[in-house]
């Protein structure tokens, strides 16, 4: 109980600081404008309705990179919230003309470009140093002759550098105010047709003479009630003018009115306020991936419980774990609610959902082991796996948390079955590697060649029966009397997880074949992702069979569980990002 309370306190602190950080508003105009109404406004983008907040952070990070745009407040540069940055880039573009804004993701390319600009003498050493560091560069520097020459050279290398040049070009085009305005599709179609794209505020205005109207303009003119159209348009202009003039009070008022009226164009197409708010909140609280901090605390405390058999540590550990699991579950449910589908279709979702399965499975295993020496280990395994995955989700930008539509091929019942079984198996593989590492550490610090004589599940059953005095073997009696060595316990815990993941992985592979049979026309195509799932299984096959033959079963098990985890991670990281096959979307 005390554990839960302490856990809750830590979580509260973490949430509070995270909210504080994201809403930490600098002074000046940035601090005075209130973009709150936009949290509930929807933007149509790439076949989805997104909250303005999440749309703005995706767009701004495409232009300026993950760190976002810096604005000057009282002579100091501070990072502006993405929604502010979006509107300011659109409405006051001149302020960013010479500011380091466009992001180049590749560091060696930054160095090369920096050196060229320095040679030409168009930028100061300080500017170049900051560019190489942050990746953000002022747009005019991209149009200098030496930069252009470099882009030409980079463009011809389709394999290594072309995509970065394309991204730079994309960023330069995207930051133009016209592009930002045309993307800002916040007005539902007045024809009340869910299959019609939404309109941007610019489309509410009559066409300039001699120009062809866009489909949106035609719709606005023909299908929208003129008074409503004019009212919304007028509010938009007033908002834009106030923003340009730096008049926060007027801008706030007009924006609030604008967002309220926009909904009236097609109220039945407008998403619920709560969904939009949930989406804004989800991104504001950083997708809750910082839950790893609580898992970290749980791991430290539970390790103490294992090492010193200290009951207080176990209680606190369980409490922290529970709180972390609740946070993790909340993140999953929130994501499910805002995307309208179970989160398992991109890399970010696969990684976070995988470890959630791990944590979920750890709970019944821990319950079964509560009276045995195996206790705490399943929680430690799950906590370490979750911690590692959530940390990657927070710090590795390749894991993009934005919510997007699934590819058509993923719309299948078997996607849910196959993917979830496989990622649950992957989580167990990672958890087994944790106890395998504990075993190896134990051996390193003088433990003898101990191993679980009865295998995994059987050991668990026997140990828990022995705890209630119904031991049927000598091993059981030893386990009950706490005379079992840590090595034996670690090996047993590893085996429990290996056995379950062995079945899940194999069943998942078979289910994948069933899906592939009806979606790609062949159950098995020797695609790298398939081959490495099979390879992970082969490592486990060796593990299971080698236990029949070797003397030092514990050591072999630990080593192979570690290798299996390595192959699994290789499949997930290297195969996905480097040797992408058909499975590249998951």
């Amino acid at each position: 109980m005390a554990g839960v309370v302490i856990g809750l306190v830590i979580t509260g602190l973490a949430t509070w600081t995270s909210l504080l950080r994201s809403s930490e508003t600098p002074g000046g105009f940035v601090g005075e404008v209130r973009l709150g109404p936009l949290d509930r406004a929807a933007v149509y983008n790439r076949g989805r309705l997104k909250s303005f907040k999440s749309f703005a952070s995706e767009t701004v990070s495409t232009i300026a990179g993950p760190r976002g745009v810096r604005v000057e407040v009282d002579g100091e540069l501070v990072f502006a919230p993405a929604d502010f940055a979006y509107l300011d880039l659109m409405l006051r573009p001149e302020r960013y003309e010479d500011a380091p804004l466009i992001h180049l993701g590749n560091k060696p390319m930054r160095q090369q470009l920096g050196a060229a600009l320095l040679r030409d003498g168009v930028a100061s050493e300080e500017e170049i140093r900051r560019f190489v560091d942050t990746g953000q560069i002022a747009e005019p520097l991209l149009f200098t002759p030496s930069a252009m020459q470099l882009f030409n050279q980079w463009s011809s290398d389709l394999i290594r550098t072309r995509k970065f040049v394309d991204r730079l070009e994309g960023a330069v085009n995207l930051r133009r105010p016209e592009a930002l305005l045309s993307l800002l599709r916040v007005i539902p179609p007045p024809n009340h047709d869910p299959k019609t794209p939404w309109l941007n505020p610019g489309e509410l205005f009559p066409v300039a003479p001699g120009q062809t109207p866009t489909p949106g303009q035609v719709l606005a003119m023909e299908r929208m009630e003129p008074s409503l159209r004019e009212e919304i348009a007028r509010r938009w202009v007033a908002f834009a003018q106030a923003w340009r003039a730096g008049d926060a009070t007027t801008a706030n008022a007009r924006l609030a009115e604008f967002t309220a009226r926009v909904r009236e164009v097609s109220p039945e197409l407008y998403p619920s306020e709560s969904r939009m708010f949930a989406e804004s909140l989800y991104f504001r609280i950083g997708s809750l991936v910082w839950g790893w901090v609580i898992y970290l605390a749980a791991v430290l405390v539970l390790l103490m419980a294992v090492a010193w058999r200290w009951p207080g540590a176990r209680a606190l550990g369980i409490g922290l774990f529970s709180v972390a699991f609740v946070v993790q579950t909340a993140a999953l449910l929130l994501r499910w609610y805002i995307s309208g589908r179970w989160p398992n279709s991109n890399m970010f979702e696969a990684v976070t959902t995988s470890v959630w399965f791990g944590a979920l499975l750890a709970i019944p295993m821990e319950y079964a082991a509560r009276k045995t020496p195996l206790k705490n280990l399943f929680l430690i395994g799950a906590a370490v796996a979750s911690m590692a995955a959530l940390m990657s989700a927070q710090f590795i930008h390749r894991l993009d948390p934005s919510v997007n539509n699934m590819m058509p091929i993923l719309h299948d019942l078997w996607l849910y079955i196959h993917t979830n079984v496989i990622i649950a198996a992957y989580a167990l593989i990672a958890m087994a590697a944790v106890t395998a590492i504990l075993y190896l550490l134990w051996r390193l610090f003088g433990g003898g060649p101990a191993h679980a004589r009865l295998g995994g599940t059987e050991m668990l059953i026997e140990a828990s029966s022995a705890a209630s005095g119904r031991a049927t073997t000598a091993t059981g009696r030893r386990l009950a009397s706490s005379k079992a060595s840590l090595g034996e316990v670690f090996d047993g815990a590893t085996l429990v997880m290996v056995e379950l993941s062995f079945i899940l992985l194999w069943a998942g592979i078979i289910m994948g074949a069933i899906w592939a049979d009806h979606s790609w026309g062949r159950p098995w195509g020797w695609d790298p992702k398939e081959v490495f799932a099979l390879n992970t299984f082969l490592v486990y096959l060796v593990l299971i069979h080698i236990r029949l033959k070797t003397r030092d079963k514990g050591l072999w098990t630990a080593l192979l569980a570690l290798i299996g985890c390595g192959v699994m991670l290789f499949n997930w990281i290297v195969i996905n990002f480097v040797i992408a096959g058909l499975h590249s979307y998951a």
């Binding site: 790439r46 299959k195 091929i409 719309h411 062995f502």
Partner: protein, 775 residues
């Protein structure tokens, strides 16, 4: 120990083999071999090229299966004799071990089920992979069935870019698809056909699903479906041959053709490496002998016993023609050989051609070569940079040069004297990439003829690429799908577009043979030099420039150019879009050879071969005793044994409709029917249809060329269906299910059974000791 050896001897070699195959160690070793084999085949290897292990640049990643000695696709790597051998040994190992080592008892049911399941799975897989055939086929949605005035009937597929010429007693009729409206009239399908009559009159006719039309002067048109009876086998290679007049292709499979590594006999048969391209990308391919006889496999093959061989392979190359100066020629084609020397480095030499955009510049754009028709033009060219459009009437009446650097001058009609012709510049597009090495620049202009007709002309920097497009084609016509709107270039109006140069050295030749000048700006202002062929001029930096020779005429030679690895498009590479083979033929004394490019499909009807479906560049051979034949490099074609027709193609979109972005697509559905059956079958992603022993899958589609007012325009005119068989798949499934059930039993039922057994024993013991005590 001795005893053991003695017993081994007694049992002899058979006993030894049986022991070997009942060893768990053998199984483990086979698992490890399988692991290494599949890891290496699937992900390749990473190895250092020198001993500086900590330097990231010495590490290389290679796909072993793509090495010259292997040349295997993923599928082939997992179907080698070695892989079969390992799987076979494993099967024997499992069977022998299970029978000899694992007693069939309730407690062992799990492992027995697993091992049985594995054997069943392997048997199913042998059947499956041995009989597996996989491929794809395009099914076109509609064709216009045209009834000619003389009663003849012809067919024009409704696909962007489709064209057909029909010869009649009146002369030649030309038909082409001007536009496609896939969603006209509530899901109906419509097309606009452009017809050029023998007398030169053009007319456009709209045809809509379900309604035949009869246009003036006896042309009848209606839309009908097109039956597809073939599919093309995945990853296969074949040569297809037929008579030059057209007709059915006869396919000859090519066995043993490389896939990943260029193979050419002599370096002379391709162009040298491009600048910046590692020389080994070309030299590594030379001196390799490829000699694959390609023999007849279909009885209608016209080449009969002509000796046909494939003697070279290029994975990614384009045929390019290059020029060298010639003393005279029919056509003006100014060419110069230039040489740039710099102190301490060997001189670089290049051939530049004034009228060829891709060959006009040299030394990374540092030098540009132009040719002047007049002194005035020469002066202007030497001043550099400006892009210009030259317009003249073919009858010599008027000529006009428009400077294109100032966009404010666009959008206004300019009259060409009193001729009645007017032009308006709409846009200038520079360096538009059209293939891996070629870029074109265009001036887009609208032309008004004295007759009051208006059309659009794209004036390309390379004269051959200039195109005229109709703007008044008819209802529903738009400019978004240009391929379908091209028409014959109006030769009364001569146009030339020069996109301008910003090179540091501008060499201008002409108008006279002895006029050769260079404007050089190597810092410190531009300076004009008079030059003589063969003589160098020197710059302050010590660099020298020499025009070795130049001529207003040139000879042209065509060879493949191997595209540098890092400039290859990945999709084009996998689909073999730029692959070609060297074909050699011998008949008696006669011998012919040519590079033949890859064609995704071999259509018997040329009108089907539109750019969206396949490249179409058959190579002609004039074979003595046979006549002129056409050859293409393609895939093996197999009959489906049934006819597939596409009734409708449905694009389902996400919320907000289809916007052209992939993210807005929810699904694709082909509504097809087999063998003219009344019943329609729907094939969509994850929902295949079965017929005639094949499964048909939604594989690819024909995206609209643009969106107009929320509905697609162009495209949606065919579907790509995957075709495959799946014999043995249920055996595989049964095996897989058995293994899963077995594992559950072994891991979760067996421990409970064992525990019960021990409890029973303990109880028995307790009872017997109790009863013993009582006694």
């Amino acid at each position: 120990m001795k005893q053991q050896a003695a017993s081994d001897q007694r049992r002899g070699p058979i006993g030894w083999v049986v022991d070997l195959f009942s060893s768990v160690w053998l199984g483990i070793s086979l698992f490890v071999i399988l692991f290494v084999y599949s890891a290496v085949g699937s992900a390749g290897v990473v190895y250092p090229t020198s001993l500086r292990f900590f330097d990231a640049s010495v590490w290389r990643h290679d796909m072993i299966r793509q090495w010259r000695i292997f040349e295997m696709t993923e599928f082939e790597w997992f179907h080698t004799w070695f892989f079969y051998l390992v799987c076979g040994l494993l099967t024997v190992n499992i069977i022998v071990t299970t029978l000899r080592r694992i007693p069939l008892k309730v407690i062992n049911l799990g492992v027995w089920t697993i091992h049985t399941g594995v054997v069943v799975l392997i048997v199913g897989s042998v059947v499956y992979f041995a009989r597996k055939v996989e491929g794809d086929t395009p099914v076109i949605r509609r064709a216009v069935h045209i009834e000619m005035p003389d009663g003849g009937v012809t067919m024009l597929p409704v696909v962007s870019g489709a064209m057909r010429s029909v010869e009649t007693s009146e002369g030649v009729y030309r038909f082409s698809i001007a536009s496609i409206e896939p969603e006209r009239l509530e899901g109906g399908f419509g097309a606009v056909v452009s017809v050029t009559r023998p007398d030169g009159e053009r007319l456009v006719q709209e045809v809509v699903d379900g309604a035949g039309v009869r246009s003036g002067r006896g042309l009848g048109m209606r839309l009908g479906t097109v039956a597809q009876e073939y599919f093309w086998v995945k990853d296969s290679s074949a040569l297809a041959v037929r008579r030059a007049e057209g007709g059915r292709w006869a396919h000859r499979p090519i066995r043993g053709l490389p896939r990943y590594n260029d193979t050419i006999g002599s370096v002379e048969s391709v162009w040298p490496a491009l600048r910046g391209q590692p020389a080994e990308e070309i030299s590594g391919a030379t001196g390799r002998v490829l000699d694959l006889p390609v023999s007849v496999s279909e009885e209608w093959d016209v080449l009969g016993d002509v000796d046909v061989r494939v003697t070279g392979f290029l994975r990614y190359a384009i045929e390019q023609s290059r020029l060298t100066p010639a003393p005279s020629g029919e056509r003006k084609e100014p060419v110069a050989v230039v040489e740039l020397g710099s102190p301490g480095r060997s001189a670089q030499r290049a051939v530049v051609a004034a009228y060829r955009p891709e060959q006009r510049m040299a030394f990374d754009g540092m030098l540009a070569f132009s040719y002047a028709e007049s002194e005035a033009e020469a002066a202007e060219l030497l001043s550099g940079s400006s892009s210009r459009l030259y317009v003249a009437l073919a009858d010599g009446g008027v000529s006009h040069t428009v400077a294109l650097d100032d966009e404010r001058k666009f959008d206004v009609f300019i009259a060409l004297g009193d001729s009645g012709w007017e032009i308006r510049v709409d846009d200038v597009i520079r360096d538009l990439p059209v293939d891996p090495v070629r870029r074109i620049s265009l001036a887009m202009i609208t032309v008004r003829t004295p007759e009051g007709e208006e059309f659009v002309r794209w004036v390309a920097d390379r004269a051959e690429d200039t195109r005229d497009l109709g703007v008044e084609v008819g209802p529903g016509m738009h400019q978004g799908d240009p391929a379908s709107a091209f028409r014959e270039v109006d030769e009364r109006l001569v146009t030339r577009f020069s996109p301008g140069v910003s090179s540091r050295i501008i060499v201008v030749a002409g108008p006279g043979r002895e006029d050769l000048r260079a404007m050089v700006n190597m810092g410190g202002g531009a300076r004009e030099h008079r030059m003589n062929p063969g003589e160098s001029i020197e710059f302050p930096s010590g660099a020298t420039l020499r025009v070795v020779e130049w001529s207003p005429h040139a000879v042209e030679e065509s060879r493949p150019l191997i595209v540098p690895r890092n400039q290859r498009d990945r999709d084009a590479d996998t689909s073999r879009l730029y692959a070609m083979v060297r074909v050699e033929m011998r008949a008696g004394e006669w011998q012919g050879s040519a590079w033949v490019p890859f064609h995704r499909y071999s259509f018997d009807d040329d009108a089907m071969a539109t750019p969206r479906l396949t490249r179409w560049e058959p190579v002609a051979f004039d074979v003595p005793g046979v006549g002129e034949v056409e050859v293409i490099f393609t895939r093996e074609r197999r009959p489906l044994g049934l006819a597939v027709e596409l009734d409708e193609f449905i694009l389902t979109s996400q919320f907000g409709g289809f916007t052209g972005e992939t993210a807005s697509i929810r699904d694709w559905t082909s509504v097809i029917r087999f063998d003219e059956a009344a019943e329609m079958v729907r094939v969509s992603t994850n929902a295949p249809a079965a017929e005639g022993g094949w499964w048909f899958f939604q594989a690819y589609w024909d995206p609209p060329s643009e969106m107009s007012f929320f509905s697609p325009v162009g495209g949606m005119s065919f579907t790509g269906l995957g075709v495959g068989n799946r014999d043995g798949v249920y055996t595989q499934l049964a095996g897989g299910t058995l293994t899963v059930l077995g594992m559950m039993y072994a891991f979760y039922v067996k421990p409970i059974l064992k525990r019960r057994q021990r409890e029973r024993i303990a109880q028995d013991l307790a009872e017997s000791s109790q009863s013993g005590g009582a006694a």
